[in-house]
């Protein structure tokens, strides 16, 4: 197991290098000199002297490969650079926003799991009935409908019509849990519902497969309660693919947060990325993508390790 973890950890820098290199060069393919976005036209004319000064300060007057090597060099020293827009260190900005996006992601994941797993189990147990058809239909709807559409619908219903919840803003769970939930519930549900569709589909098929196993028949023959058979024997053994899909969905969750954070005015990492793209803030954009890549890689590793916990038969050499 330790050797496996070490091997995976050693692969990470290579993957990160490839991802960041691809991103770095892709960003520079975007049309438009970032300096124009930063100090270009303030409505009082172009300040060419300030533009030239900033271009030099940001190192944008150097060839792209040189810029990349310098960025990687900084990275090795733990320096992600400074934002071209706010002049603040990139790592500080990312660190400040991690709790916000984490809270949104975790609540969304919780909603996805709390809806997806029970619904999947019910659909599997009631296979072929109207309940199965209904739950499957809702799951397909959840998969098909984009989170931003759900967000718009929620805002219309819960903010404009019912006036129950706010549409914009964010309060940290640590500072005020009740108020935080008021702000989080709509964006997290919009994200979580789309996630729950996938979880439900995988749970249903996985539980169905397990329900046909001999040991389930044995459990029932022993006279165990059906609830115990499902929860203890079927669901537990069906969890492996569900854990996989939850790991895979993390990327979708992060991507969804970019849109949802903008819609609900949540100052998280997604918003940071959007602002950085709009303002051609290369250092911040590179920093955020690097962080997202790291998270996806870490969760992928964690998912693999969880296999062994969920299913003791799995051994890593």
């Amino acid at each position: 197991m330790t050797a496996y973890i070490l091997r995976r950890l050693l692969q990470m820098p290579l993957v990160l290098l490839l991802v960041t290199a691809a991103l770095f060069f892709m960003i520079h393919l975007l049309p438009g000199d970032p300096v124009y976005a930063l100090v270009g036209d303030t409505g009082q004319g172009l300040d060419h002297a300030a533009m030239q000064s900033l271009r030099h300060k940001l190192g944008l007057d150097q060839p792209v490969p040189v810029q990349y090597i310098k960025w990687v060099g900084g990275l090795l020293h733990g320096d992600l650079g400074r934002s071209a827009l706010s002049h603040q260190p990139v790592d500080t900005q990312i660190v400040h926003r991690i709790p916000t996006t984490s809270q949104l992601g975790l609540v969304a994941l919780l909603i996805g799991v709390l809806i997806g797993i029970p619904a999947g189990v019910i659909a599997a147990v009631r296979r072929g009935t109207w309940i199965d058809a209904g739950v499957t239909g809702i799951a397909m709807f959840g998969i098909a409908v984009p989170s931003f559409w759900l967000a718009m619908l929620f805002i219309w219903l819960f903010v404009v019509v019912l006036r129950w919840l706010p549409a914009s803003g964010f309060v940290s769970i640590a500072s005020n849990p009740v108020s935080a939930l008021r702000y989080l519930i709509l964006p997290a549900t919009a994200l979580g519902l789309t996630l729950s569709g996938s979880i439900m589909r995988y749970t249903r098929s996985s539980v169905l497969e397990v329900l046909n196993q001999d040991y389930i028949r044995t459990a029932r023959a022993k006279g165990l309660l059906e609830r115990r058979v499902i929860m203890r024997h079927a669901l537990r053994n069906a969890l492996l693919p569900i854990v996989t899909i939850m790991g895979l969905q993390l990327g979708a969750l992060l991507a969804g947060s970019v849109i949802i954070e903008s819609m609900f005015a949540i100052p998280g990492l997604g918003r940071l990325a959007i602002d950085a793209i709009g303002g051609r803030d290369y250092p911040v954009l590179q920093g955020v993508v690097l962080f997202f890549t790291l998270i996806v890689l870490a969760v992928s590793l964690l998912t693999d390790l969880l296999y062994a916990v969920v299913d003791p038969r799995i051994k890593y050499a």
Binding site: L38, D41, L46, W156, A265, P267
Partner: protein
């Protein structure tokens, strides 16, 4: 004067009364849709109209003396909401929306025209613009004197302390000027203070500024904070203690509010400064509110929903398309700052066929500005463009000739230009907002007089680079803040050789701009600006298409907000909220 009388006076000063309009709004979110019918409208006034803010004995050269006195954009939700003028209520919290990040909390460093709305509340500028009177008025600077053409002396108030309890004195002003001048600091406000060559401090509350050459527009640059001016004074002790990075997160200056917390893309919270000595025009102690929260909400639909639900009190960058929805809600109102933005069709005048005067004039006649304003200015927010200036500037010359739509004349001029059989041009336009569709409308209008065109849509930053700076297109759609007050910066930013599209030298402009900058007498400067308007007409350098208004929408319980003299910045110094 008590609060009641003050607001009665404000109501009486309204330039435009409540107007009744009818409309239908359909708001749909996917499958859900709702229609609304309604009425009621916006009106204008200016709560910043200030007796206290009238200059004592200062009519320094370079200071705009009272001009037209009519500022139709001066807007007061106070007047909008109440005819009877309710008494001012103190306390409470105001939640204000803006769509883009608050770029810098450091009041000398900001990069967005929306920022002064926030920074001027905790970093009150040295002088202020008395919008109603159209002239500069004292603020932190109590009086000023233009000793000679290149020397300006400020006398500061002696009762202002920074919020770190250090005094705001001449040394602090000198420090702030030198900080803004610093190349390393590289603030957007740097250009305003660069002309200062030396500073002297005769006593603790007097500072003398020396210039290499007369500078007619310097003082007006001190009425705003960055990026539209350099009026902010910062605490030297705080800057030295914190350094620039930390100071940006914890700015220390002096104003009716204190910046309690700053989040670039989240909420910035300002709390009441109990020690602020400058009073309201009626003598009331300021500020009225306990707290103002500025919340960055990028999506218009989200902001509108929160405004309707009461989660936001005021939106000062309101989407004009949503005014219909506001009209339908009795608890909401709106106010238009007419002419705050201008849209024009810019040309690279050394590129054929734009190098042909008759062809440029044909374009000026071919553009149907009424159609553009009706199409892209819903709810009367926009008016047809007439020229570079509007009555928001005291330099506006209403007698200046203007181009209006005349297809026949356009065709005649085309024939005169030798292009009667048609011409083809490439237009650059932005993907931002409605500018893509605007370009398409213009394309259709030009087609009517047999001018073919193709439109390339691009991000605003690419448009600036490719059209404005590099001149790679023959024409491009330009949009900018409409000039208010002294139009020097506007003309300089449009017609100086290093600023025209493609950096083409336009005959006579550079010299005239230099002359305007050195002419301290306002009457003479006004003549120069009138000459510029005439030169713009004669040269047909731009098709002035439309003047758009910026819109603030608010809950009617919000009182006392007005417009600052820049495009989309709101003045909340006198804002209060009915409980």
């Amino acid at each position: 004067m008590d609060g009641q009388n003050y607001w009665n006076r404000m109501a009486a000063l309204r330039l435009e009364r409540r107007r009744v309009l009818k409309g239908m709004a359909a708001t749909s979110f996917g499958l859900a849709a709702s229609g609304m019918l309604a009425a009621c409208g916006g009106n204008t006034n200016n709560a910043a109209n200030s007796k206290a803010a009238s200059p004592a004995n200062n009519s320094a050269p370079g200071t705009p003396a009272a001009a037209s006195g009519t500022r139709p954009a001066g807007a007061s939700p106070a007047a909008a909401a109440t005819k009877s003028g309710p008494p001012v209520q103190r306390g409470g919290e105001l939640i204000v929306r803006r769509p883009s990040p608050f770029t810098f909390a450091d009041p000398q460093q900001s990069g967005s025209g929306y920022d002064p709305a926030i920074s001027q509340l905790y970093a009150s500028p040295l002088v202020v613009m008395d919008a109603a009177a159209g002239k500069i008025a004292p603020n932190i600077v109590q009086s000023w004197e233009q000793t000679d053409d290149t020397t300006l002396t400020f006398k500061l108030r002696k009762d202002i302390m920074f919020t770190d309890n250090t005094p705001l004195n001449a040394a602090a002003v000198k420090f702030s000027i030198e900080r803004a001048q610093s190349k390393d600091f590289n603030a957007s406000s740097r250009r305003y203070v660069l002309p200062i060559t030396a500073t002297e401090i005769p006593d603790d509350f007097t500072i003398t500024l020396k210039f290499a050459a007369p500078n007619a527009v310097f003082l007006e640059g001190l009425t705003m904070n960055a990026p539209d001016g350099s009026g902010a004074v910062v605490s030297p002790a705080a800057v030295q203690k914190l350094g620039n990075d930390a100071f940006n997160l914890n700015p220390v200056s002096a104003g009716p509010y204190t910046c309690q917390s700053y989040q670039r893309s989240g909420e910035t919270v300002l709390v009441k400064n109990p020690n602020w000595p400058i009073t309201a025009p009626n003598g009331d102690k300021l500020p009225y509110l306990d707290t103002i929260r500025f919340r960055v909400v990028p999506e218009n639909a989200t902001a509108l929903s929160d405004l309707q639900a009461g989660n936001i009190d005021l939106d000062y960058v309101f989407n004009p398309d949503d005014v219909t929805t506001v009209k339908a809600r009795p608890e909401l109102d709106f106010n238009v700052h007419k002419g705050a933005l201008s849209q024009a069709f810019g040309m690279v005048t050394n590129k054929a066929p734009m190098d042909n005067l008759a062809f440029r004039q044909a374009l000026c006649y071919a553009a149907n500005r009424d159609e553009a304003a009706a199409t892209f200015g819903p709810n009367g927010v926009s008016t047809p463009g007439k020229g570079p200036l509007t009555d928001l500037s005291w330099a506006y010359d209403s007698s200046a000739p203007v181009y209006t739509y005349d297809a026949e004349k356009a065709k005649q001029l085309l024939a005169q230009s030798g292009l009667a059989n048609g011409a083809e041009i490439k237009i650059a336009s932005s993907t931002t907002s409605f500018y893509g569709k605007f370009a398409e409308l213009l394309q259709a209008q030009l087609q009517r007089v047999n001018i073919k065109s193709s439109v390339d849509l691009m991000e605003a930053v690419v448009l600036t680079q490719k059209f404005r700076d590099q001149g790679l297109y023959q024409a491009g759609l330009e949009y900018q803040g409409g000039p208010q007050g002294d139009p020097y910066s506007f003309f300089q930013g449009k017609y100086a050789t290093d600023q025209t599209p493609g950096h083409v030298t336009l005959p006579g402009w550079d010299d005239l701009l230099a002359k305007a900058l050195k002419t301290l007498d306002q009457t003479e400067r006004k003549k120069i600006y009138a000459q510029m308007q005439r030169m713009d007409y004669d040269g047909a350098y731009r098709v002035w298409l439309m003047n758009s208004g910026t819109v603030m929408a608010f809950r009617k319980k919000v009182q006392g907000a007005s417009w600052l003299t820049v495009g989309s910045a709101v003045d909340l110094r006198y804002a209060w909220k009915q409980k």
